[in-house]
């Protein structure tokens, strides 16, 4: 506008009869300008459609909807975690912050384990096995035995020398001796869910299965013997603190214990422990000299090796979610599940991390 007006000022004094070339040009521009503006208005009115600026949303590393099923301690500082939609996470600060790693799959991962800070394995839905040899910079899917009926690997454990064992649906037990590159099926398939596996000594392995079943192999997995315990519920985790002393925990607060390397199992009913919720994982804490188990609805419990005193607790008033795996480091427990958090065994305080 102001340009236009300045121009108008120069031409307006009509008393001047002689016009310079410049004035002629200005006069021409002036006679065109209004119509140019009118045209622009019409054009803008008909064609210009403004677009909105959109706020960028940066997705959190661990989403509220994320379920993290598996957790593995690589060192005191470094943890690996695996969860839904092929999610693999690494933390180098005791679980305080996490970073996503790129994986080639979209299916849910149930567990992850590491031989060292480079070589790791993850298993999950569809019987998928993933492998990395560079600390998770590249994950590749490797061939592994599958069932015709259903495939879902639920837990994996690794042992020195490149050994790995994974268990899952349809009685699937697979083993690798070359850091997860090749896998062998160690048992005929059967319609039974195997939920956890652990090696006790050089020949003995135990498996926590469904409907109160515990499997044992004394010949390094060649043959398996199942024991029906007194627990009516399915088991979800097994752990031994010595070759003879072990605990299996499961749904509905089920706990069975052995003092004789699995020859006999003692069922400890919920009314003894006060724990009626599902227990999903258990570990022995060297530092505090007790078993620590974690499970559904924010429940957790601690009890000594002699099973004399059971302390069933709730993580916090607000976090009543389920946790599926735990790792103990000193007096701290890192747990994953619907949330990720740290439990202090001294104060019993639960701190949410990463969410």
């Amino acid at each position: 506008m102001s340009e236009n007006n300045t121009a108008a000022e120069q031409v307006s004094p009509a008393s001047e009869n002689t016009e310079t070339v410049g004035e002629k040009i200005v006069k021409h521009i002036l006679s065109i300008l209004p119509w140019a503006i009118v045209g622009t208005l019409l054009w803008a009115g008909i064609f210009v459609k403004p677009t909105a600026t959109i706020k960028e949303v940066i997705p959190p590393v661990i989403d509220v909807r994320d379920n993290i099923f598996g957790l593995s301690k690589v060192s005191s500082d470094v943890y690996m975690a695996a969860g839904n939609y092929g999610k693999i996470l690494i933390s180098t600060d005791k679980g305080r912050t996490w970073k996503n790693q790129k994986t080639p799959i979209e299916s849910h991962l149930q567990d992850i384990e590491a031989w060292d800070d480079k070589r790791m394995v993850a298993v999950g839905n569809g019987g998928v096995t993933l492998l990395t040899e560079d600390g998770g910079n590249t994950w590749i899917e490797v061939e592994s035995p599958r069932s015709e009926t259903a495939n879902k690997l639920l837990r994996v454990h690794v042992y020195p020398g490149g050994e790995a064992w994974a268990v899952g649906e349809m009685g699937m037990i697979i083993q690798s001796n070359d850091y997860g590159k090749t896998w062998t099926q160690m048992r005929e398939e059967e319609d039974v869910f195997l939920n956890d596996i652990t090696r006790v000594d050089e020949n003995t392995l135990f498996i926590a299965a469904e409907f109160g079943l515990v499997f044992k192999s004394s010949d390094n997995g060649q043959t398996w013997k199942d024991t029906q315990t007194d627990s009516p519920n399915s088991f979800s985790a097994v752990e031994f603190r010595t070759p003879s002393e072990g605990i299996v925990v499961g749904l509905g607060g089920a706990i069975v214990a052995t003092q004789d390397a699995g020859e006999t199992w003692t069922y400890i009913p919920p009314k003894t422990t006060g724990m009626y919720e599902h227990l999903m994982d258990i570990d022995w804490s060297e530092e505090t000299n007790e078993w620590v188990a974690i499970g559904n609805k924010g429940k957790w419990m601690r009890f000594p090796a002699d099973l004399s005193d059971f302390d069933s607790r709730t993580l916090s008033k607000t976090d009543l979610t389920t946790h599926s795996e735990l790792e103990i480091d000193g007096k701290k427990v890192l747990a994953v599940g619907a949330t990720v958090g740290e439990l202090d065994l001294e104060t019993n305080k639960w701190t949410l991390l990463a969410n």
Binding site: M1, E9, L42, A44, V48, I54, V57, H278, N296, S324
Partner: protein, 808 residues
């Protein structure tokens, strides 16, 4: 022609007046019956694809009339008898509210929300406390456990800290009466409010109920504004005619407009009151111009020693002011008409109302005022001696003249340019959609907004948007030639839904999303003894089909209706929003589109379609407003420019009159951006009507300069005469209107207060540019359409004598 018309009007003044009176009487009868209410469908752009989706699915997936209650325990969690009883009583009390859709009541005390549990027969589902309250502490504890186990309830319907419960009810849109719902819902809530619970409630029926609730106050404010108006006019004009005639013009045009609206079946939205005021302000403004000119004619004659009768003075007034008056009205009407391009029925109806209203000003102010003036017996008499003209108005107008005559005119133009630039930069930040959380219609400390904040704090959000997935092609049949069912159970669609929900929830303002895919994992988990590792969809389409079947078998017909249609061919993803801000909604919509773009395969099978629910409809409205924003301003300016070009036969005239318009609008937009007032369905009409507002004052002033110059006056003489006559009219109307608009600042409706402020600002900027800027520009640039070159130039020499300054 102008002369002939005014001569005719004056000659037939009795006939003219009689016709006007008869029409007014007839229309008053209609105007009296006009329906004052908000019709919610009118707020929806019916042709917009989102609104089509909304209309198709609103009865299944939730409409825009949902009312949300929150029962908050005052001490401890909700699991205590008095609180549970309040929740139960509230839920049952909902049935006594008119027009509720009883299939859309969601409460832990209702029968739609249930826990699914494994049992010997597979899956069973149990309501939490329906039909009876728990009978013992054990039953309360069991219920608490059951709620904690159900993620679709714990979080969305019982707050995470367990201290509040969320209850929603939907209404049948065609039966709803906002006012009745408002009264019944608050009566219900207040009857249950006691020392154990606080009850909050929100929702569109409640919001618009508040607007109607304040209607008596609105009427009172209109009364007070009129009174202030009356008093000021009386004090300034010092005559009864000067007081009553402008008000009479306003009244006549209001009656005509409302009468015509009633005949056309247009209802009067209470929020439109401010628009009505804007138009009435114009009627008054034109009338005051007439009045001022009339008195000037009389005074001039007296000064010249002759006696002029009222009839002749009125005729001259009409003849001279017919052009600027009519041009102003035509421009206003033209600018407003542009708004009708918008597909929103409310705006279209408003355009009809506004155009009629503005049109009637041509009769009520421009013809009726001079006609009535022609009967004045003693035009020189005054009622009271306080002469503000002498004390205030004339000195002020002298300042205006002096500004033009001295170098100060350059300062004015420079200032205008600075204001122009600064407000232009600010105006860019003007937001489409609501700019703040809560409802911008009400004050932040009003009960409604406090309730909304409380609920949004405890729960995922009050306002919802749903997108629809799936669908059947026309004529599609299943393999047996029958009705196609269950298309949504496809694993890829179900999984896609979950991924979509996860993607959408990453946006902070989306508190939660729910869909069929959230139901299935809990059924699956239950079937696997409650193992967390099975909290996921079935691995195949068949498995999911079974899981859905199990859920359905365990529930009542219709329990899935929140998530799918009866045939399970369509599914919804329901998103809960924490606020209705324009940016929030735009971001959400853009993210839905981006998700679709990034998942072409999913889109092929799932056909994700935007969008229903309150937020879906607002998204549509905002898109329409955004895409029409530049359009309506540009076209309104186009009309303005063209009219000026045609009337003054000069393209420069178009440019010239654009200045005050653009300036007034930029300042107002900048003010809106600064005060965080968003462009939404309520503010758009005001903004559109404001476009034409800036020009009226300038037209009167410039037209007078032109006619005086044509009569042989010098540049400055012409400007001075114009400022003292037309300028007086501008100053008086601006003063009186700004003072009466100020009343709205005390409105209980924040929207009215803000719009009052906007209109005040508009009037102020328009008046200032008409009094200072435009005369200065006219003098500096001397555009030909005002200062005709053909005329004898000798009188220009007088300018120097007049001001002691050489002309520029």
């Amino acid at each position: 022609m102008l002369e002939r018309f005014s001569f005719f009007c004056m000659k037939q003044r009795k006939v003219v007046l009689a016709i006007v009176l008869v029409i007014t009487a007839v229309l008053a009868n209609f105007a009296y019956q006009i329906d004052i209410k908000t019709v919610f469908e009118d707020l929806q752009p019916s042709s917009h694809p989102y609104v089509k989706v909304h209309e198709k699915f609103k009865d299944t997936f939730g409409g825009t009339s949902i009312v949300t209650f929150m029962v908050q325990s005052t001490k401890g969690d909700i699991f205590q008898m008095p609180v549970l009883k309040a929740i139960r009583d509230l839920t049952q009390g909902l049935y006594s509210i008119d027009a509720i859709n009883e299939f859309q009541i969601f409460s832990i005390a209702g029968k739609k929300l249930k826990e699914t549990r494994a049992s010997t027969v597979g899956i069973e589902s149990f309501p939490f406390m329906w039909p009876n309250l728990p009978q013992s502490q054990k039953e309360i504890d069991d219920m608490k456990e059951a709620i904690l186990r159900t993620p679709l309830v714990y979080g969305p319907f019982v707050s995470k800290d367990l201290t509040a419960s969320y209850i929603t009810v939907d209404f049948f849109d065609n039966l709803i009466d906002f006012n009745l719902v408002f009264e019944q819902a608050y009566a219900l809530a207040n009857s249950l409010d006691n020392e154990h619970v606080d009850i909050s409630l929100v929702g569109n029926p409640i919001l618009y109920g508040w607007v109607e609730h304040y209607l008596p106050e609105t009427v009172k404010l209109v009364g007070i504004a009129s009174l202030i108006f009356f008093i000021l006019l009386f004090v300034i004009n010092r005559t009864w005619r000067g007081t009553i005639l402008p008000m009479l013009s306003g009244l006549i045009s209001a009656i005509w407009a409302l009468g015509v609206a009633q005949i056309c079946g247009i209802n009067f939205d209470p929020l439109v009151v401010v628009v009505a005021m804007l138009i009435t302000a114009r009627a008054v403004s034109h009338s005051v111009q007439m009045m001022t000119r009339f008195h000037e004619e009389i005074d001039n004659a007296t000064a010249a020693g002759t006696e002029l009768n009222s009839l002749d003075a009125a005729r001259t007034t009409l003849k001279d002011l017919l052009r600027p008056g009519m041009l102003g009205i035509a421009t206003d009407a033209g600018c407003v008409t542009v708004v009708a391009i918008s597909p929103i029925p409310l705006l279209q109806k408003l355009v009809v109302l506004a155009v009629v209203w503005v049109g009637t000003v041509a009769v009520s102010s421009i013809i009726v005022t001079p006609v009535l003036l022609s009967w004045v017996k003693d035009p020189k008499s005054y009622v009271h001696p306080l002469n503000l003209d002498k004390l205030l108005i004339r000195p002020f107008l002298n300042i205006c003249v002096n500004v033009v005559a001295t170098k100060a005119r350059y300062v004015v133009v420079t200032l205008a340019v600075i204001v122009f630039i600064i407000s232009g930069l600010y105006a860019v930040n003007l937001k489409v959609g609501d700019a703040n959380p809560g409802s911008p219609i009400l004050w932040p400390d009003g009960r409604y907004n406090i309730d909304a904040a409380a609920i949004n704090n405890q729960f995922p959000g009050v306002d919802r948007m749903f997108v629809v997935l799936g669908g059947v092609e026309e004529g599609e049949v299943n393999e047996f030639g029958g009705k196609v069912t269950g298309k949504i159970k496809n694993i890829e669609i179900l999984d896609g839904m979950l991924r979509f929900q996860r993607y959408m929830e990453q946006q902070e303002e989306i508190g939660a999303t729910v869909s069929l895919s959230d139901v299935i994992p809990s059924v699956n988990e239950t079937l696997h003894e409650g193992s967390f590792r099975y909290s996921e969809l079935g691995q195949t389409t068949d498995q999911n089909g079974e899981l859905v079947f199990m859920f359905e078998r365990a529930s009542e017909p219709g329990d899935l209706l929140r998530f799918t249609d009866v045939d399970i061919n369509y599914a919804s993803v329901l998103m809960y929003f924490k606020d209705r801000k324009g940016t929030t909604i735009r971001t959400a919509v853009a993210r839905v589109k981006r998700f679709i773009e990034e998942n072409p395969h999913l889109q092929e099978i799932a056909n994700i379609t935007l969008a229903g629910g309150t937020i879906g409809v607002i998204a549509a409205v905002n898109e329409v407003i955004l895409s029409g924003q530049i359009q309506s301003i540009a076209l309104a300016l186009f009309i303005l420019v063209m009219m000026c070009i045609i009337v003054y036969r000069s393209s420069i005239a178009g440019m010239f009159f654009m200045v005050p318009v653009v300036l007034a609008n930029l300042v107002t937009f900048a003010f809106m951006a600064w005060q965080n007032i968003g462009m939404n369905i309520n503010t758009v009409p005001v903004a559109a009507l404001g476009i034409g507002l800036g020009v009226d004052y300038t037209l009167y002033i410039c037209d007078r300069i032109k006619s005086e110059y044509d009569l042989g006056k010098s540049h400055l003489e012409a400007i001075s005469i114009s400022l003292h006559c037309a300028g007086r009219g501008v100053l008086v109307t601006a003063l009186v209107l700004i003072a009466s608009v100020g009343v709205w600042l005390f409105s209980s409706l924040r929207f009215q207060a803000e719009m009052g402020m906007l209109i005040g600002l508009w009037l102020f900027v328009s008046a200032m540019s008409a009094l200072f800027l435009m005369p200065a520009m006219a003098y500096i640039f001397k555009p030909k359409f005002i200062f005709d070159e053909e005329r004898d130039q000798t009188s220009d020499a007088n300018d120097a004598a007049l001001t002691g300054n050489a002309p520029a």
